[in-house]
Every structure is written in C-alpha cells, then in structure tokens.
C-alpha cells in the first residue's frame, strides 16, 4: 500500500518538474521573441501555454485522487497541498508568458533592444523561475529564500523601466503606444517574479511546514 503511494508521489514529483520546465521554456521563448522580434517563437509560447494548462488540470486531478484515496498526513499532505498551490502559480506564469508573446506581435517587429533594462529584467525573472523550480527539485530551502529576496530586484527593475519609459514618452510622444506596450511587458515580468516568489514560499512550506503568510 505504502509503496504504491510512494510511487504515486514520485509521479506527482516528476509531473511538477515537467510543468516547471515547461514554464521555464515558455518564459525563455517569450524573452527570446522579445529580443529578436521572431514572431514564430511567440506562437510557440502559445502552444506551450496550452500544454501548461492541460498539465495543471492533470496534476490537479492527480492530487485530488491522492488526497481522497490515500488520505495522506504530515509531510505527504504538505507536499500534495503545496503542489496544488504551486500549479496555480505555474499556470499563471505560463499565461503571462503567453500575454508577453501576444504583445510582441503588436510591436510590429520592433525589438526591445533600445531598452536594455527589460532584457536584464527578463534574465532576472527567468533565473528566479529556474531557481524556484530548482528549489522544488532539490528541496533546497536556502535557494528558495534567495528567490524570495530576488523579487525586490525585479521590482526595482520595473520602477527603473517605468521612469525611463515616461522619459521616452515625454521626448517622443508619437512613440507612446510602443512605450505602453513595453510597460505592459515589464509588468508581466514583474508578475512572473511574484509567482516565482509564491512557488518558493510553497517549497519552504512543503519542507518545513511553515508558510510565510500563516
């Protein structure tokens, strides 16, 4: 009985890693599309985002089944409930990558090369997502804590980009729409950073049983 349960937990773990990897890919592709202006990459992000949605439903039903059939306690219960919370955040990351990709199609081939900060911000968020998934894989609390501190950096980037875009609009009012699109992209990256932070917090919860907000 127990060994079957362990096996199911292992499968859940694998699925979570796969979903995390898909999120990483989605955001990496969106960023690449942003810097190269390659619209085919943006389309790919859409398909990955759909896969992520499907994965969320699969993992959710898997978790429910485990909860109902095995009635787990303590650590196992924490792992499953944390997984349930994390997939929501991962799904949001996928959606927001898709949103970024969608905005890129409106940019009409303009790339974000002029705003170097957005690229840096994207790199920072990607590493946050990667680290949060890594923290889950390795059950590494320290890594999860670094992810949480990195969120401030992303917020800082957002403020900086915002003021530079304001300056851009003031100098070239005809570039207003482009600037606003870039602002939206930056906002989405900022949100992705928040979701990565959430994932990291749930990783800490699943290992220690303590959640920051409780």
């Amino acid at each position: 009985m127990r060994s079957r349960f362990d096996e199911q937990l292992n499968i859940l773990n694998t699925e979570m890693i796969q979903m995390g990897a898909m999120c990483e890919e989605a955001i990496a592709l969106a960023t690449k599309a942003l810097t190269t202006g390659d619209l085919s990459l943006a389309e790919k992000v859409e398909t990955i985002s759909e896969d992520i949605d499907q994965m969320e439903r699969d993992i959710e039903s898997h978790c429910m089944k485990l909860l109902l059939q095995q009635q787990p306690v303590a650590r196992d219960l924490r792992q499953i409930s944390a997984a349930l919370k994390m997939i929501t955040d991962m799904e949001r990351i996928g959606d927001q990558s898709e949103d970024i990709a969608e905005i890129i199609t409106y940019l009409e081939g303009k790339t974000a090369e002029e705003t170097v900060s957005i690229r840096d911000m994207a790199a920072e968020t990607i590493s946050m997502v990667t680290d949060s998934v890594d923290a889950y894989v390795k059950k590494d609390i320290e890594l999860a804590k670094t992810v949480i501190t990195h969120d401030d950096k992303v917020d800082e980037y957002f403020d900086r980009i915002k003021s530079s875009l304001i300056k851009m609009i003031a100098e070239n009012p005809e570039n207003g729409e482009y600037a606003l699109d870039l602002l939206m992209i930056a906002k989405y990256f900022e949100r992705i950073g928040d979701h990565a932070t959430n994932i990291a917090e749930w990783v800490i919860f699943s290992v220690t049983g303590e959640h920051k907000n409780s």
Binding site: T14, I17, V137
Partner: protein, 551 residues
Amino acid sequence: MTSKIFRSIFATSIVVLMATLVIITSFLYDYFTDIQINQIKDELSIASVGTEQSGEEYLENLKSDNFRLTWVASDGTVLFDSQADKTAMDNHLDREEITEAFETGKGSSSRHSATLTEKTLYEAVLLSDGTVLRISVNRASGFVLLLGMMTPVIIVVIIAVIISAVLAHKMSKRIIEPLNKLDLDDPIENDAYEEIAPLLSRIHRQNMKIERKAAELNRRKDEFDLITKNMREGLVLLDKNRNILTINSAAMTIFGTDEKCTGNEFLTINRRHDITSAIEKALTSGHAEIRTKLGIREYQFDISRIETDGETVGAVVLAFDITEQADAERLRREFTANVSHELKTPLQTITGSAELIENGLVKQEDMSRFVGHIREEATRLVTLVDDIIRLSQLDEQNELQKENISLYDIANEACGVLRDSADKKDITLSVSGDSGNVCGVKQLLFEVIYNLCDNSIKYTPDGGKVEINVSETEKEVTLTVSDNGIGIATEHHARIFERFYRVDKSHSKKSGGTGLGLSIVKHAVQYHGGKIALQSEIGNGTIVTVVIPKI
C-alpha cells in the same frame, strides 16, 4: 516452521491414537464373541442332556431371558420355543445351523438382524432321538457396542489430544530452537544436533560461493568506476523509467550535481526540454543526438537505447564537451567571411575606378586622383595578403631561424619605423628598460612590437604618449606597451586577438590596418612560448604585457 512441525507431530499422535483404539476394540469384540459362543455351547450341552431325559417339560423349566431354546423335530417343525409360540413358527429345516446339525451332529451360525443393530449367535446339536436342539443368544453388533462406548472413548480422546498437543508443542519448540540460534555466517562452528549437519555444510558451501561472487562483482564495479571516473566525457546510465543508475564525475560536473542524484529521475538533474525529449526519442527509436549549450559551454549529447532480448532496459547518455571545437568552427566561418569581405572591398574600389576611366568618364585633371585610389587600394590588398601569408606561416609552425637578440634593440628599431606616424599625431614615443636578451626570431618579435605600437598610436588621440618598457628577470623578459588612448571595453578583451575582429564594427578605413595585426602578435608570442595579457578600460588607455621565456 514451528506450527508446521507442531501440526505434523500432533497429527501423527492423533492418528496413532485412533488406530490403536479401533484395533483394540475389534480385538476385544472378537474375543468376547468367542467367550459368548463357548458359554452357549456349554448351556446347550447341559440342555441337550436334560431334554433327552425329560423332554419338553425340562425345557419349560429352563426358560430364561438370557437365551432362547428351540427344539426342532427331524422334519423341521418346531416342537418347542422358549420365547415364541411354536405353532406360529415356520419350518426350520432350511436354517443353516439346523441343516448343519442334521448332517454333522453340530451346527453353528450367526445372523444380523434386519436393522443391523443386533447380531444373533446360533448353536445347534443333534439329539439321540433325531431331533435338534438350538440355542441362540442376541448381542449388540460391534457398531452398537462402539456407540455405547462413545462417551468414555470421547473423554479418552480429548485427554489424549490435549496431552499430545502439549507434547507436540514442546517438541517442536525443542527442534526449532537450535535451528533459530544457528550462526549462519559460520555454519560449521555450530553445536547443533547431527541431523542438520548436512544442511550446515551446504550453507557453508553456499556462503563461500556468495563471497566469491560478491568479490567478483566488486572487482567489476571497481573496474567500471575507475574507467568512468577517468573519462573526460560525461556518462549517465538510465533505466527505462529514466531513473539514474550510474553517473560519472564528468557528468556530475556537466549537470552540476553530486552522487546523491543516483536513483532519482533524470529530470531532477536536468529538465531542459531539448535534452529530455532527446532521451524520449532515444528510448523509442534507439538513438538520439543533440548539441546544446549548458551554461557557457557547449555539449554534444549522444543518447542510445540499451536493449536485452529486444526489450528496452534503459538508455546511456554520453556528453562530449565540444566548446573548443564549436569555437574553432565559428572562428573558421568568421575568418572565411571576413577574408572575403576584406579582399572584396578594395577590389570593388579598384574595379569601380577602372571602369570610370575605361568609359572616359574621368576628366583628365581627376585622373591622377583616381589612379592614386587604385594604387592605394592595391597596396592595401598587398598588405592584407602579406599578413594572411605571415599568419598561415605561423599556423604551419615552420621552424624559423632563431638567434640571440635584444628586445630593447628591436623596440628601438620599431620606434624608428613608426616615428613619422607618431610625429604626425604629436604622440611621444619612448623606449626604456633593460636590454632584454632572448633567443627568438627577429622578424616575428619585430612584428610583435611594431603591431602593438602601431595600434597604440592609431588609437591614441593627438598629443598622447606611447611607452615601451623592457624588463628582464633570470627566466623571462617582460615587454609592456602602454598608452593613454581610448582604451578597449572589457567585453572585447577576449576577442581582439581573433582574426579580423574589430572593436569598431564598421570596418572603417579611417584607422587603416587589416584586422590581422593583433592576431599576428598572438601567434608570434605563442611561437616563442610566451604569454600575452591585456589591461584596459574605456578612456583609460591600454597596457599590453608580453612575457617571453628566455629559453
């Protein structure tokens, strides 16, 4: 084990007990039957004497509940019966014992009653007057007897069962105890009863066999570990569920993990989509190959399925570091592209000018300017081809004539050549330091200093200064060329020694040069077994340090 032994002992004793009971009962039954028959025989002989003397009267007196007397005439009619009405009785001539008595003088038989619950014993004797006197007695059959004895038998059986259960339990415990206490690591040394001695020696032999096998396995594992550990290529063995069976140290470095990952899924050490999908592909179609970057290094992954008897048992992932190879490939590609570009630009100017002259579109007074263009570009081409030839010579590593020379002297010589261009930009050019004697190729070392100074002059604004310093230790000579020019940004440091690499991407003719100067410097320094270092920041000038060993 205990319960099995207990059960068999118990069952044996129960069976023995039951068998004994049955055998004894049947013996006793037969014995009592014999006694009874003897009794009625005695009775009959007394009765027959009485009947012969006083006839029916005697028989009437003899009536008893214990037995039944029947007197039968020679024609079979019943003359008297002690328990029934003689008139109602059939002719008895066909009865077995009576027929026998008529024939032999004595007869006996026994018959079961219709219900089988009773058995009747008959004895008959022929009297002197030709009649037959029969005595019979009823007795319960063996079955009824047994039924009657049930209660005591059951009590006896219950007691016996309890006793045998207790004894069987104790016995099985006594058999088992030494077995459980056996020291299986050293079976021969055990002090147990001799019945299990063959078992012990077998265990001993088995132990030896296992030990040998284990040693053999360990040896093979050590061999395998040693081989994989010293492999430069990363090796990961996966089972069919993608769990890591073995990972060598090179692979651990590549994937940034440690031994603890063994047994986990491959996903836990790397979840890159291209790699995992390549593994999937290998597991389904047999083989997969991808090139990808992990961090700053580039790897080629060869993944093959492992099969036994047509069944997939896992996959082996081999990772090769192809960073250098990929870099070399990129360099070669860039070199070809650059060479063509650099060769084409002057040729285009030459053909363009020549065409204009050919078609008479150039006025006589402009002619010398156009011809001058053609000559200039042709000279550029010649310099470029010269540089390429020199570089390829260096690539070939031909053995060149080495001599003892002073770097200080060469530096002075180079400065002499460059003095004019330095003066044009009002740049101070100075040489200082030791004489710096090394054994080297004069032409190449001249090239090194010339190119470094030339670059410094080119990229230093008017009124700047370029200093050459030669210092000497016992083992090596250090040459530094420093300027206070525009400097080089850090991101270009690694690449400026590549062929045709330019910080200024526009390949502007403004500064002139072929883009091969620093490449020649690098090769020339390498030819002498030296090292070259760059220290520069935007706006803060550049210091190039060349260290050349004396031997």
